[in-house]
């Protein structure tokens, strides 16, 4: 009897869940929600149905001895699989994207540390050692004849190669300024002002002052954010002088007058 009751309950509530789910999907579609959100709303309708099935489910029989032990192990396996699969089913950030960024950010810093210098010296010494051995072998095999020696290629300090504005644009990306500032219609969530015309509104010196001391300037209409200190005051510690100069050089080129950019106000 209880089994029949459960099956009936599953059928009834399952159908109600599907009907509500379909209604939600239709409403979501009509109001402009993308497909992925429509699926989410449908899933919630089915979760609701499952909850109501559980609420009215018949009492579970007691498990004892080995049955209880097996039940427990199976339950743990099911939980582990559901939690892991649930997390794996969500969109995943590709670490390779971040690895490239971190490499660029930390390369110069590592090179300036004692360990970085030592590591670099050791690496060069090892490379030279290997080349000397290789040349020695080659010389012996050729009986001291002429060989081609490949000049050592020293990697450039930065992939952007010397162009200060390009370097500054790279800093904009690496320091993730786009998280708060909109530029070219991309990024920013109203935490900071749009930057498209900032080069017309501030001199390079003023831009540098703002980066080093965020309290020195405030964007018009951003009083709340200014008072809360939303612009981090960490860049003076995190960035090298040449990186700040590059970022300033890049910002100074942003002179798109067609995009309304909040007016900077000198604060102290």
């Amino acid at each position: 009897m209880a089994q029949q009751g459960l099956v009936g309950s599953i059928m009834k509530k399952g159908i109600i869940g599907i009907i509500i789910g379909v209604i939600l999907v239709v409403v979501a579609k009509l109001t402009g929600f993308p497909f992925v959100f429509q699926v989410m709303f449908f899933s919630y309708a089915m979760l609701g149905a499952l909850v109501f099935i559980l609420l009215d489910a018949p009492t579970m029989n007691r498990l004892e001895g080995p049955k209880a032990a097996i039940g427990l192990v199976v339950f743990y396996i099911v939980l582990s699989v559901i939690f892991t699969a649930g997390a794996s089913g969500l969109p995943q950030y590709d670490p390779e994207v971040e690895k490239g960024k971190i490499d660029k950010l930390l390369k110069a810093r590592k090179a300036r540390t004692q360990k970085g210098k030592a590591d670099e010296l050791i690496a060069r010494a090892k490379a030279l050692d290997e080349r000397a051995i290789a040349i020695d072998k080659k010389l012996n095999s050729l009986g001291g004849g002429n060989i081609e020696v490949v000049e050592e290629v020293v990697p450039a300090a930065s992939g952007a190669g010397g162009d200060i504005v390009a370097l500054g644009k790279e800093q904009w990306e690496l320091q993730e300024c786009y998280n708060c500032h909109k530029l070219g219609g991309e990024g920013g969530k109203k935490r900071g002002p749009v930057m498209d015309n900032i080069g017309s509104l501030m001199t390079p010196e003023q831009l540098k002052e703002k980066i080093l001391d965020p309290k020195s300037w405030m964007a018009e209409g951003f009083d709340k954010q200014y008072k809360k200190g939303k612009m981090p005051d960490k860049y003076k510690d995190l960035m090298f002088d040449e990186e700040i100069d590059a970022l300033v050089a890049y910002l100074a080129t942003l002179k798109n007058t067609s995009v309304e950019t909040p007016k900077p106000i000198k604060m102290n």
């Binding site: 402009g32 649930g86 950030y93 670490p95 971040e98 786009y178 708060c180």
Partner: protein
């Protein structure tokens, strides 16, 4: 030219040979590579296991002493037995905490020697003096507390409870002390005016480094988390023992224990979202760029998963209340004002709007909250507004609203791992963007908390008008208790991962970069595997400890040891 090149190369070779032999005279230990997982994950797993055991030995005594006090106050030996059983498991697991703690230090020193040494030097007094002394004190008090249980009965019971309180004070102090360096790694002290952060940290005193932005929020978050942990673990113990019980008396006792464990676990859980919010608020206040990293960038889907877990935990804890109510005879008579039901239904919308108009820390939104909570019971006294609904109807509507609140909590701005990858097909429509913002999330959290409180009020009314049949609860409830413990610990692992990852590619945020190849944000899937692994290992050890420890209790028949409280105790 070739002769010159060759000569230079040979000269270089000689220099290298000289340098190599000089280097060889001061040999360094080989670099440690943690097998299979890599160094970062190795440290993560060991640290996570240590934190889980530490949370147990800090959370369980809070639960135990409260239970012991309740037994003393109500002259009820059940509470005393509960407290003793939980403490017994704690004593067994204490050694695991010390073991994993030692392992953590060894692994850290082996894999990140430079950074570990740097951190120890900055917190030398903490690591070498204060923390060990507190740990020793806690060890002595814990063992004294447990082994004096039987000898300090009757008139000495109050002193025994005081010893338990002292144990918790020392435990809490230990937690606060070790949270100093942990919080420092997330939010190192802010530099004084005109100084760089590096200069400031080099000259700052110990207190300046300990009392950083996230220290107190982390303390509070972990303290409340530990109480939740203690409650749910007590529920787990009760579930295991209920399954093993052979007599009705034993089943009645462990059914009751499960209920108390869940009550305390859920009670503390209600505060946890707000403690977490406080911690996140302070992190964002320290550096606003942490916020988008957490909510809109690499960690956004970690929070999506957290939303799912919190939703499941609230669903399960309320389902347990539902199952508990079903075994109360006469519960059908319990009714509640229909206005409360209406308040529950409108709460997500009203509070979402209130927080939109008055975001924290502005206080005006609390007026709306107070109105929603206080007005229904007050207005229901007025003629014409006295309509009521049954407890079961209220709870069913409540479950519907839990699903709605879960949906709001879990609605992201876009189904993407980072907002940078968002496209029109994956984002909320413009008009519905508010659903993804903090006011909506806060409203969902408050709805979940309010509903749970209403359900407990209904349960209390149920036991006042009806009679409860302990030991007769639906067997499924035991799996609900196990689910709650497993999910709470899994979520703890997830949020611990998030807290660590907010340091980004730094060992100490903005101060000590992690130059290793593993200094990136792992994927949520990768993290979930390891979090599940840690949870399973922890559960295996705890299950073993429960099975071994409490079997002995049963054999010793604790009832024969006399009444644990003095006559006339209140």
């Amino acid at each position: 030219m070739k002769i010159l090149s060759r000569s230079l190369l040979m000269l270089a070779g000689l220099v290298v040979a000289g340098a190599s032999s000089a280097y060889g005279q001061m040999p360094d230990a080989p670099v440690v590579d943690f097998p299979y997982a890599g160094n970062r994950t190795g440290v993560w797993v060991v640290a996570q296991l240590h934190i889980l055991f530490a949370a147990f030995i800090l959370g369980a005594p809070i639960f135990a002493v409260v239970s012991e006090w309740l037994g003393y106050k109500n002259n009820d030996p059940k509470y005393d037995r509960l407290a003793k059983e939980v403490t017994k498991v704690t004593v067994i697991l204490y050694s695991m905490t010390a073991l994993t703690g030692g392992l953590f230090i060894f692994v850290l020193l082996g894999t990140y020697p430079d950074f570990t040494t740097w951190l120890i030097k900055h917190f030398f007094l903490v690591f070498a003096v204060i923390y060990p002394l507190l740990f020793i004190a806690e060890t002595i008090i814990l063992y004294t507390y447990f082994y004096s249980w039987d000898s300090m009965k009757g008139s000495k019971k109050a002193r025994h409870i005081a010893l338990g309180v002292l144990l918790n004070l020392v435990g809490t102090l230990t937690l606060f002390v070790i949270d100093g360096p942990t919080a420092f790694m997330n939010t190192p002290a802010k530099a004084a005016e005109g100084m760089s952060l590096v200069e400031f940290v080099q000259t700052a005193g110990l207190w300046d480094k300990v009392a950083n932005y996230s220290w107190m929020p982390l303390n509070l978050h972990r303290l409340v988390g530990n109480v939740t942990f203690g409650g749910f673990i007590a529920g787990l113990i009760a579930a295991y023992m209920y399954m093993r019980s052979r007599t009705d008396e034993e089943r009645a006792y462990y059914d009751w224990m499960g209920f108390i464990g869940n009550l305390i676990g859920v009670g503390a859980l209600l505060l946890l979202p707000f403690m977490g919010y406080l911690l996140a608020y302070e992190l964002c206040d320290y550096d606003a760029s942490i916020c988008p990293y957490m909510m809109a960038d690499q960690l956004s889907m970690f929070f999506e998963m957290q939303g799912a877990m919190i939703g499941l935990i609230f669903l399960a804890s309320n389902y347990y209340i539902w199952l508990s109510m079903k075994r109360i005879q006469g519960v059908e008579q319990v009714r509640i004002s229909g206005l409360v039901m209406i308040a529950v239904i409108v709460m997500p919308a009203v509070m979402g709007l209130a927080w939109k108009m008055f975001p924290p820390p502005e206080w005006q939104s609390l007026i709306y909250l107070a109105a929603l909570v206080i007005l229904p019971p007050v207005l229901s006294k007025l003629p014409g507004l006295k309509f009521t609904v049954s407890a079961f109807t209220m709870i069913k509507v409540g479950f519907l609203m839990i699903v709605v609140a879960d949906a709001i909590w879990m609605t992201p701005h876009g189904f993407v791992a980072t907002q940078g990858a968002a496209t029109h097909d994956l984002e909320l429509p413009e008009w519905a963007q508010e659903l993804a913002l903090m006011p909506a999330k806060n409203a969902a959290a408050f709805t979940l908390v309010y509903l749970t409180i209403v359900n407990y009020i209904l349960y209390n009314r149920g036991i006042r008008v009806g009679s409860i049949s302990w030991g007769k609860i639906d067997f499924a409830s035991q799996f609900v208790l196990i689910f709650l413990a497993f999910s709470a610990i899994w979520t703890m692992g997830l949020m611990g991962t998030v807290r660590s990852l907010t340091r980004k590619y730094f060992h100490v945020y903005n101060l000590v970069p992690d130059f290793t190849a593993e200094a990136f944000t792992p994927t949520l899937a990768y993290s979930a595997w390891w979090i599940t692994g840690c949870t399973v290992v922890f559960f295996t050890v705890v299950s073993f400890a429960i099975m071994v420890t409490l079997r002995i209790t049963k054999d010793k028949a604790p009832e024969a040891q006399g009444v644990p409280v003095p006559e006339g105790a209140k």
